[in-house]
Amino acid sequence: MTYLNTQFKKGVLELIVLISVTGRDMYGYELVSEVSKIIDVNEGTIYPLLKRLTNEHYFETYLKESTEGPPRKYYHLTMAGKIYKDNLQREWEDFYKRVEEFIKESEKND
């Protein structure tokens, strides 16, 4: 049972997806597995997110042959995607810092 609501997790999900693909290009299932390790969301919700980020040109996709089945679609972070990711990350750090400070303050006052 988790207390963080789905909408909140969905918001953070975008940042996590973008960061995962920064180091190297990944294909769908791989990306879903990586993200699932960090945050507990339903797997079905990640593909629409990938679709949206691709439609907004933050991702580029290409097909690569695989030995284990049909060719896989790989996701690659574009220049625009990197900029978007940096902005998101900055906002998140700012947000996180403020919330942490607020919690510390209110604990002091308890």
Partner: protein, 332 residues
Amino acid sequence: MTKNEFFKYLDKRLSVLNEKEREDIKSEYSQHIHMKIQSGKSEEEAIRDFGDIESFVDDILSAYNVDPNYRKSHIDSDIAEKAINNGMGIFRKAFNKAKAFISDAAGFILGNKLSTLFSLFLKGLVIFIIVFFIYGLGYFIVNYLGMIFLRDMFPHILGIPIGEYLWKFIRFIYAATGFCVALTLVIAYIRDSVYKINKKGGKKVESNIVESEKVVNEAVVTDENNVKAENTEKVKRERRSLADYDFMGFLLKIVILCIRIGVFFTLLPYAFMMFFAVVGFGILLVAAFAGYPAWGLAICTLGFDLCAAAVFAFIVKLVYFTKFGKKGGESI
């Protein structure tokens, strides 16, 4: 939900997208399911892990800036197809569960080959009883109402006992329609089973028959020593899945299916009545123009037609198009 059902749902909800996009989305999910199966999960489990399907399909549509609610309630306009598919699905599930239980018990008592036949027989018997009573109820209503309205109230028109003939004709049409519906259901069911048998590469395994059955067949082929162990293992697995099945939702589905079947057969005589009322209106109109004092009756008949059509439309929408069950679950 099987992969095919999932893809059918995607096709319907995403019909507004162009085909290339739809196929791309389906292939991504297909690959994901494929990799999940490789890591040991079943197709159904992999799809269950996706979470709330309706909601993420909403997200897919949003990614293309399409309103997720566009045509959501219109994805299925074919009443009969929907009723049959749901009916088949529910019947199949219900009888698989009952059959599993009976197979275990009967297998223990009778020995394995006999229990297969016994449970098949029981399955057929229960279907027959249900259909017989629902259909019989409908027939009783048709007969009774037809008798009152057609044979007794309007016995003679222009000197011919039309009422009597109409009553007999309607009964015949009803019987014929019921027979055709039953035949369609049986054919759809057989075709489904055959498709599944063919999919299994010709192995004599009906996939309708539940896991404990499959093990019986395989056990005959494999090492005799492992038979008992495999048998109890698979039986345990089935019992666990039975325990976490949603019984309330399942019961609700059965009730709604019965209501829909009952209403379908009950509405048939009214449909015919409406049709003949339209014809009657035409006849009265002709008579009125020919000089008979039939204007009043003609207007009454027209009024009856309009009201009946409205009531009919309302009932049909209520029974067949309303979504029951929790939001985001499989729509019934």
